[in-house]
């Protein structure tokens, strides 16, 4: 084959394979996620919420970071998953894994339906449309108080032990184990997706959406697929929150949650898969600390943190880190 000509001893496939291999910072990262079990066992409930929010941020990264879809209503799918799992449990079926699957199905179905609108717009119009979807769903849940509990939230959820063995305890060992396992498994799927032909097509859309039809690509079909997948993942994250906290409030569908997850992702760095994970951890630990220091005005500090990060690290924390390592390599 001419692919193996002189001066090019590495076959292109092997070169790409090497690019996609697991690197040691990734392995260190995932080992570090186990540390809360031993180092901060009194914070496992917070760690579980971080893992769930990280999963939610990961789903946003798939559409924003890899496809350029800015959403201000991504909580719609999160909340839909939360209410699905919550209602299922309230109505007498508290088995967590089937609850997750049903939540994924509902959120995915709604994601697929809305994707027909999403695929037709970009930029500002898209921000308005996603914002609208979030508001519509939240008010619908508010007015359907006889099902959702309305403003008081959904009460009476009881989650059964996982696989009939692991009980959700007061200290959060099961909570964090469950959330972390879910995050890791879905991360593996997302990582595979990013390194697939479809992932390449998404990068093409992000890079130059106008050029895609000229190579025979249907951008609408691609956008609909990734939007549906992202909705499914958001729904799973929401269901996990409902199952571990055993309550669902209207806030799960709200604008604040959509905005927060966007902030976390930008804080961590978009288009790198790990950005949402690191952003969620930094943001939620900061919120926990700041609200301890100053319960009323902690958003003041979050605001300062945001301005500082965006000014100093335009590509987020991860963007800054990769710039540093490249400089260090160039200097040595």
């Amino acid at each position: 084959m001419s692919s193996a000509t002189i001066g090019d001893p590495v076959r292109p496939v092997q070169y790409l394979q090497a690019q996609m291999r697991w690197r040691w910072p990734e392995i260190v990262f995932w080992l570090a996620t186990l540390l809360p079990f031993v180092l901060t066992p009194s914070y496992l409930i917070l760690a579980s919420q971080i893992a769930i929010t990280a999963l939610f941020a990961l789903s946003l990264d798939l559409i924003l970071g890899f496809c350029g879809i800015v959403s201000l209503g991504h909580a719609a799918y999160f909340g839909l998953g939360a209410y699905t799992a919550g209602l299922l449990s309230k109505w007498g079926w508290g088995e967590p894994l089937t609850g997750l699957m049903l939540a994924a199905l509902t959120a995915g179905l709604f994601g697929f339906l809305t994707s027909f609108i999403i695929a037709r717009f970009r930029h500002l119009a898209l921000i308005m449309i996603t914002l609208g979807i979030g508001l519509v769903l939240q008010e619908a849940a508010n007015s359907a108080g006889w099902i959702t509990g309305g403003f008081d939230g959904l009460q009476g959820i009881h989650t059964w032990p996982i696989l009939g063995r692991f009980r959700f305890d007061l200290y959060g060992y099961t909570d964090y184990g469950y959330s972390l396992a879910g995050l890791f498994l879905i991360f593996l799927i997302a990582r595979r997706l990013v390194h697939s032909p479809f992932g390449l097509a998404l990068c093409g859309i992000r890079d130059n959406v106008e050029r895609m039809p000229a190579i025979g690509a249907s951008t609408h079909a691609h956008i609909q697929t990734i939007y549906t997948i992202a909705a499914i993942i958001a729904g799973i994250a929401g269901a996990m929150l409902a199952q571990t906290s055993e309550t669902v409030s209207l806030e799960t569908l709200g604008f604040q949650r959509s905005a927060d997850v966007l902030v976390m992702l930008i804080l961590g760095g978009t288009g790198r898969l790990y950005g949402g994970l690191i952003g969620a951890a930094v943001y939620m630990v900061a919120r926990d600390q700041f609200s301890g220091l100053n319960p009323q005005y902690w958003y003041f500090w979050i605001g300062l943190l945001l301005i500082a990060v965006v000014m100093l690290l335009p590509n987020g924390i991860l963007g800054g880190l990769s710039l540093l390592t490249r400089r260090a390599k160039a200097a040595s």
Partner: protein, 254 residues
């Protein structure tokens, strides 16, 4: 089977009072190398936009082989083999040259919706992309990001992207725009070396290149086809000399 690879019938388009295409009738037999020439604003790029579906005509039909494709969206025309390149580089700046062309191959083979298998499982597609880049002398830089490539190399990536879709009809909008003269010869040599199964229509201002590489020439003025003929016929036509060639000769001397 129609003898024409591509044909247009009564193609019309205007923007307000500005007529950019008026009753354009093209007949491109298979395998022919056509040059499309005309002064600035003659409607050459507009014609490519109309044919490829980037613009909707006000009236008229576009026929690819035996199929009327007037109503098809751009990406479906590409899948049927009607492919274009752009006058200004319109590439994927943050993908490598190999990734860009592999993407185009994957789209053609309809595997670009596959998200559960790793890209490296598609070694055939990757090798095909690499072969296309090799043929265009881009193999040594195929792992570099497109935006880091030289301008001439980027023009070649444009052509590589088009070839990856396996075109039957290839419309090249000033393929050598902005490329130094020596390099543009090489670029056209690559185009001339394309398979005779591919029908080529290119827009070009350099008359030496037009006369060297085109088998037939179409002259457009003010949205109309002024005339069509072999390069010697075009060179000898007084109307062409009046509207176009005299000026171009003059410019290329200065």
């Amino acid at each position: 089977m129609s003898e024409n690879a591509l044909a247009t019938r009564g193609l019309n388009k205007s923007f307000g009072s500005l007529v950019v295409a008026a009753d354009v009738e093209l007949n491109l037999p298979q395998g022919v190398r056509y040059a499309l020439i005309g002064p600035n604003g003659a409607g050459k790029t507009t014609l490519i936009n109309l044919i490829t579906g980037m613009l909707r005509p006000d009236a008229g039909r576009i026929i690819l082989g035996d199929d009327d494709i007037t109503a098809l969206p751009p990406e479906q025309r590409v899948r049927l083999g009607l492919v274009r390149t752009y006058q200004i580089n319109s590439l994927f700046p943050h993908l490598t040259a190999l990734e860009s062309v592999t993407l185009a191959v994957c789209e053609r083979r309809r595997v670009a919706q596959t998200w559960w298998r790793q890209l490296t499982a598609y070694s055939q597609e990757i090798d095909e992309a690499h072969d296309i880049l090799s043929a265009l002398t881009l193999a040594p830089v195929c792992h570099r990001l497109t935006r880091e490539l030289g301008y001439g190399q980027q023009r070649l990536v444009e052509i590589a992207l088009a070839l990856a879709t396996r075109p039957k009809v290839l419309l090249l909008d000033e393929p050598a725009a902005g490329v130094p003269r020596e390099e543009s010869r090489e670029l056209f040599a690559a185009i001339a070396g394309l398979s005779r199964d591919i029908t080529v229509l290119f827009i070009e201002h350099d008359m030496d290149i037009v006369f060297r590489f085109a088998t037939r020439v179409i002259v457009m003025v003010g949205g109309r086809v002024l005339l069509e003929g072999t390069p010697p016929e075009i060179a000898a036509d007084p109307r062409v000399r009046a509207v176009y060639l005299g000026k171009a000769r003059h410019e290329s001397v200065s």
